[in-house]
Amino acid sequence: MAEPMGFFTDTTICIGCKACEVACKEWNQLPAANGGVNTLSGDSYDNTRRLDGLHWRHVKFVEQFTPDRSEGRWLLMSDVCKHCVQAGCLEVCPTGAIIRTEFDTVVIQSSACNGCRDCIGACPFGVIDINPVSGTAQKCTLCYDRLQAGMEPACSKACPTDSIQFGTIADLRQRAEARVGQLRGQGENRAQLYGADDRMLGGLNSFFLLIDRPEAYGLPPDPKMPSRNLAPGSLWATLGGILVGIAGLVSFRNRGNRP
């Protein structure tokens, strides 16, 4: 296996240019949504709005303004599949279409997916959706095809500020720690890493530097594996089965007294 590879996205230097979105769409040949008809969100410069089967990168525009709008700031964050070390989508996929690659990334094989959509609800981050063209679940592949050819993913290659950095996880974590230290030294005490260590789902191979709570960026504060409910859910259902069985025996059993 090659070394684990991933993204480190430093949201503090994202300028919201969406070059990553465009580069992703171009390389992965993702068509425009809605037949190319422009749909504007109407309340933000963010018209992509969410990750889905046709959008594998999404630059979030988080607007934080005081009610009188005298003070405010933009939080910009290029969102993407987190390529979790413990991946909920991969765990539930009943066709085996979702695999872990030699780069420790998570890829949906479109040729095997049958569109059951279990992975969509299993993803703790809401990253996956159906691509209406293929009829299969799709998301960022961390440019698996480019990685196999020794190339860098399209989005990080296109990023003009290096907000999206690509590299080995070990190297990226070092860079991220240094950047947090630098920001804190400059007085930005809210600087924190999201998913950079193995406490969150075994580690996110695509992790982030944030300067607010994860919720502010639309990120779950405590993402979990779907299988956390497997044992308790099965035990409760089994108990239900026993109760139903007892009710059945009580009601139907042969007492030998013919009516």
């Binding site: 066709t95 779950p220 059945g248």
Partner: protein, 300 residues
């Protein structure tokens, strides 16, 4: 500052009406079969016509379930990818994924319901090959078929709730009790269908019908308790039901589907209409339960 629940940051898998109908009809199939199996294995010989009804219901419904699930896929022709790995053609099963296990269980349940269906037809004299009747108890072969089919019936009746829990969606994965509620409700709706058919076809004696009524009464009480526990287990997430879904849950599922049939069951011995109405309301409630559970999370 209190944390926002993490399940609210996820995306809906677009499981809508086809899935609601699958959960409902699959529940009836599993419930009807497990009741039939219980009667055949432990019940009174003169209730066997009632069990035969269960087998006659279970197989066609299971076929419909399979069709619903295939049609719901975005790539229906690839339905078999759930059973065989599409590249290697080796068996595809992940015991920790309820959908994977469920696909196999539904296939096997279809097989056993077919055997029992054929046996029921042979018992009825529709199929003139007496050997087929041995696929029903008494007798070793019939007992094996009904025990395995019955266990699968229990599984089909409840696994769908566990499948919902093994996601990261709000409501579904915020409680472990949906499987419990679905299983009880499945048995109840299965009993309701048997009650209706038994009355219509006059196959069961009064004793058999009373046993079904008694069984369903127990189940409705259990279901009510389980539903209350489910709402409590949701904690702060229960606020997601402080809207039309909650009204539908309280009035439709509990009022129409549990409380009203409980009252009507008490009069069923004297009034055939009350008995039939109770069964119909149980079916309405069982359907609405799945509507609320599935679609309320889909709409978050």
């Amino acid at each position: 500052m209190s944390e926002v629940p993490s399940t609210l940051f996820t995306a809906a898998p677009h499981w809508r009406w086809l899935i609601v109908f699958y959960f409902f009809l699959g529940g009836i199939a599993g419930g009807a079969y497990l009741i039939a199996a219980l009667i055949d294995l432990f019940g009174r010989p003169w209730d066997r016509p009632l069990a035969r009804l269960g087998y006659l219901v279970a197989f066609p419904l299971t076929v419909v379930c399979g069709i619903l699930l295939v049609v719901d896929l975005n790539r229906p022709l690839r339905f078999w990818h759930m059973l065989l790995a599409s590249e290697t053609l080796t068996p595809m099963i992940k015991w920790w994924s309820p959908m994977s296990v469920g696909a196999w269980a539904l296939l096997l349940f279809g097989f056993f319901t077919l055997l029992s269906f054929v046996a029921a037809l042979a018992d009825d004299g529709w199929l003139r090959w007496p050997g087929l009747a041995r696929l029903r108890p008494p007798g070793i072969l019939g007992t094996i078929v009904v025990v395995l089919g019955g266990l699968l019936g229990f599984f089909i009746a409840g696994y769908t709730g566990v499948l919902l829990a093994v996601t990261n969606r709000p409501i579904w994965s915020d409680t472990s009790l949906i499987g419990l509620v679905f299983l009880i409700s499945s048995a109840s709706t299965g009993a309701a269908v048997l009650m209706l058919l038994a009355r219509r076809r006059a196959v069961a004696n009064a004793e058999g019908l009373h046993a079904l009524e008694r069984f369903d009464t127990l189940l409705l009480v259990l279901e009510l308790l389980a539903l209350v526990a489910l709402v409590v287990s949701l904690g702060s997430l229960a606020r997601l039901w402080l809207n039309t879904w909650g009204v539908l849950l309280v009035l439709g599922v509990v009022g129409v589907g549990i409380v009203a049939p409980l009252l009507l069951h008490r009069q069923a011995r004297t009034s055939a209409l009350a008995g039939a109405s109770a069964a119909v309301l149980v079916l309405v409630g069982g359907f609405l339960l799945r509507v609320v559970i599935v679609l309320s999370s889909e709409s978050v």
